[in-house]
C-alpha cells in the first residue's frame, strides 16, 4: 500500500475487460490516482493481530441441504441472452487464432 501506487491502466483495463478510449484513459488515470491516494490512509492504522472480517457477523453462511431442486426453464434464460443459438449461448470463436 502506497500513497502513490503505480497504476498500469492498460493492464488494469485488460484485467477488468474494458476497452478504454485514449480520452477515457487520460481522464481516469488522475482520478484513480487521487482516489487511491486517499484510500491508502489505511496503511497507517495500527492493526496488531486483528484478523480479517470477511462478512458481517450476523450472517449464517450455512449452505442449504444438498437436494436437487427444479431450475428455471432453459428457454426462459436463453430468451434473455444477447445471442442464443439452439440450446446454447453463442460467443465468438475461442479456439484457434486470437482468443
Amino acid at each position: 500500500m502506497s500513497a502513490q501506487p503505480a497504476i498500469d491502466l492498460v493492464r488494469l483495463a485488460e484485467l477488468a475487460r474494458l476497452s478504454l478510449s485514449a480520452e477515457e484513459q487520460a481522464a481516469l488515470l488522475p482520478q484513480l490516482a487521487r482516489i487511491l491516494a486517499q484510500l491508502a490512509e489505511l496503511e497507517a492504522v495500527p492493526l496488531d493481530d486483528t484478523p480479517a472480517m470477511v462478512r458481517a457477523g450476523a450472517s449464517s453462511g450455512i449452505a442449504r441441504a444438498d437436494e436437487p431442486q427444479p431450475s428455471l426453464p432453459r428457454e426462459a434464460l436463453l430468451a434473455r441472452a444477447p445471442k442464443p443459438e439452439d440450446d446454447f449461448y453463442s460467443v465468438p470463436k475461442t479456439v484457434g487464432g486470437e482468443g
Partner: protein, 478 residues
C-alpha cells in the same frame, strides 16, 4: 395532500371505505401527474397492477382473509427481480432485460397482498449517492427538484416521499436507502445483514448488500419488516431466525441510554457536519431525553477510516460481481474484432457508465496480484476494528444516534464531477454497513426548508430495538 400510509391503506380497503382498485387508481393518477417532473419511475405497470387490484377486491368479497399488505401499492428499485418487469439496474447494458423470476422479498410482499406498481430509477448498479449515475433519468427531490434525492435508491425514495406509493424497496450497500430517506424526509431501514433474504437482488457488494424498505413512518416500516424478514434457504447469508414481529409499547424509553458518538458530531474528525444538521440533531437528542432516555457520549475511534475501508471492499466485491455482465448471458452485446475478449471488452465499454468503470477498475486494482494483501486484506482487518468499536459502544448504551448525512440535499451537479467528494457523502452510513448492524434513518426536522435525517443504530440482530426507538421518537415528534 399525500396518500395514506401502509397501515392506513390496508385498513381502509379491508373496512370497505375504499377498494384496492380505487386506491390504486389514485396512486396511478398521482404518478401520472408527478412522475414527468420528479422521475421516480422508469416503468409503471398500470395494466397488470389494476388487474391485480381487481383480483384482490374479489378475494376480499369472497370472504378470504386479507394479507398483511392487502391492496398496498409498492414500487421496486430496478435491481430487484420481478417476473416480467424490467430489471435494468439503471444500466444501458441491461436495457429492456426482463427478470425470469421473482425475488424472494418481492414474492413475500405480493403473497401478503401488495400490488407491484412499477420499477424505479437508480444509480447504475447502485454506484452513487445522488441518483445522477443512472443511464436513464435522475430522480429529483420532491422538496426541491433542483436538488438530489440522494442515492442510489433515489427513485424508490422519491416515489414514497411524493406520495406516489406508501411503500417501496431499495437496496442499501453503504447507505443507498438511508441517505435518500434522509434527504427526502422519509423513513428508510437497513436491517441487520442477512435479515431480508437477497435471492433475486442483483449483487453489488455481497458482504454488504441489504434489501431495505422505505415508508413514510416507522410503523409502516414495521408492517413491511414483518412480511419481508425471515430465513430463506436460497440465501446462504440469511439469518436463521423467524420474521420480526412488532412489539406493542407505550412509546416511552425510560431507562434507555442513547449513545452519541463524538466523532459523528465533530467536524474535525472528517464528518464535515453542516451546522443546520447539527442543530436539528441536538434538538432530537433533547426529545429522546423527554422520552425518559439518557444521552451518553461514546467513541468510535476507527470511524474516520470507514470511507477508505468501505470503498476498497465494496469496489473489490463489485468488480467481481459485475464480471458476469460480459455480453454472453444478459442484456446487450457489442461486437468488436473477432475474439471473445474483444466482444466482452466492447460490451462492457459501451454498456457501463463512467462511475461503474471507475469502481470496476479500483476493485480490479485492489484485488490484483501484488496488491491484494496490502489493500483488500488490510481493509478487511480495519473493518473488524470498526465492528469492534460498535460492540464496545453498545456495552454503554441501547442504541446510537447520529446524523444520517453530513448535509441536507445538495444541488444536482454540485458533486458529480468530483468522485471523491461524492464518496464522502457516505461517511456516516458506511460504518453500519461494514459492521452489518441495523440502521434506521428518520426525519428529525428541517434546516433552510430541507429535511434532516437522523440515524438510529443498534447491535447486530437488534432490529426490533432500533425500530422501537424510532417509533417512540416519531410519536413524540408528531
Amino acid at each position: 395532500m399525500t396518500l395514506p400510509g401502509v397501515e392506513a391503506t390496508r385498513a381502509r380497503i379491508v373496512a370497505g371505505t375504499t377498494s384496492a382498485e380505487a386506491n390504486l387508481r389514485e396512486c396511478l393518477e398521482r404518478i401520472a401527474a408527478l412522475n414527468p417532473k420528479l422521475q421516480a419511475f422508469h416503468t409503471v405497470a398500470a395494466q397488470s397492477s389494476l388487474a391485480r387490484a381487481t383480483e384482490l377486491d374479489a378475494l376480499l368479497k369472497s370472504g378470504a382473509q386479507p394479507g398483511a399488505l392487502h391492496g398496498v401499492p409498492v414500487a421496486l428499485k430496478s435491481n430487484l427481480c420481478a417476473s416480467g418487469h424490467e430489471t435494468n439496474c439503471g444500466s444501458r447494458l441491461l436495457a429492456g432485460w426482463q427478470a425470469p423470476y421473482t425475488a424472494r422479498a418481492v414474492e413475500r410482499l405480493l403473497d401478503a397482498g401488495a400490488i407491484l406498481v412499477g420499477m424505479t430509477h437508480m444509480d447504475e448498479f447502485g454506484f452513487g449517492s445522488s441518483g445522477e449515475n443512472s443511464a436513464y433519468a435522475t430522480a429529483r427531490n420532491p422538496h426541491d427538484p433542483e436538488r438530489t434525492a440522494g442515492g442510489s435508491s433515489s427513485g424508490s425514495a422519491v416515489a414514497v416521499a411524493s406520495g406516489m406509493v406508501p411503500l417501496a424497496l431499495g437496496s442499501d450497500t453503504g447507505g443507498s436507502v438511508r441517505q435518500p430517506a434522509a434527504l427526502c424526509g422519509i423513513a428508510g431501514f437497513k436491517p441487520s445483514y442477512g435479515r431480508i433474504p437477497r435471492h433475486g437482488l442483483v449483487a453489488f457488494g455481497s458482504s454488504l448488500d441489504c434489501i431495505s424498505p422505505f415508508a413514510r413512518s416507522v410503523t409502516d416500516l414495521e408492517c413491511a419488516m414483518e412480511v419481508l424478514s425471515g430465513h430463506d434457504a436460497l440465501d446462504a447469508t440469511s439469518i436463521e431466525e423467524p420474521p420480526l414481529l412488532r412489539i406493542a409499547s407505550e412509546g416511552a424509553l425510560d431507562g434507555w441510554r442513547i449513545g452519541v458518538p463524538r466523532e459523528c458530531f465533530d467536524a474535525g474528525a472528517g464528518s464535515g457536519l453542516d451546522e443546520g444538521v447539527r442543530t436539528a440533531l441536538e434538538a432530537a437528542l433533547r426529545r429522546f431525553e423527554q422520552l425518559g432516555a439518557q444521552c451518553v457520549e461514546v467513541s468510535l475511534p476507527h470511524l474516520r477510516h470507514a470511507i477508505a475501508t468501505y470503498y476498497i471492499i465494496a469496489c473489490a466485491e463489485a468488480s467481481s460481481n459485475l464480471a458476469r455482465f460480459d455480453g454472453v448471458r444478459y442484456g446487450v452485446r457489442h461486437t468488436a474484432g473477432s475474439s471473445l475478449a474483444a466482444m466482452m471488452s466492447a460490451t462492457r465499454e459501451r454498456g457501463f457508465g463512467a462511475e461503474v468503470k471507475r469502481r470496476v477498475l479500483l476493485g480490479t486494482f485492489v484485488l490484483s496480484a501484488g496488491y491484494h494483501e496490502a489493500w483488500y486484506q488490510r481493509a478487511q482487518r480495519v473493518r473488524a476494528r470498526i465492528a469492534q468499536d460498535f460492540e464496545q459502544a453498545f456495552e454503554q448504551c441501547e442504541v446510537l444516534v447520529t446524523p444520517t448525512t453530513p448535509s441536507t440535499a445538495f444541488r444536482l451537479g454540485e458533486k458529480s464531477s468530483d468522485p471523491l467528494a461524492m464518496y464522502l457523502s457516505d461517511v456516516l452510513t458506511v460504518p453500519a454497513s461494514l459492521a452489518g448492524i441495523p440502521a434506521l434513518s428518520i426525519d428529525c426536522g428541517r434546516t433552510q426548508g430541507l429535511p434532516v435525517g437522523m440515524q438510529i443504530l443498534g447491535p447486530a440482530r437488534a432490529d426490533t430495538r432500533v425500530l422501537r426507538a424510532g417509533r417512540a421518537f416519531e410519536r413524540k415528534n408528531a
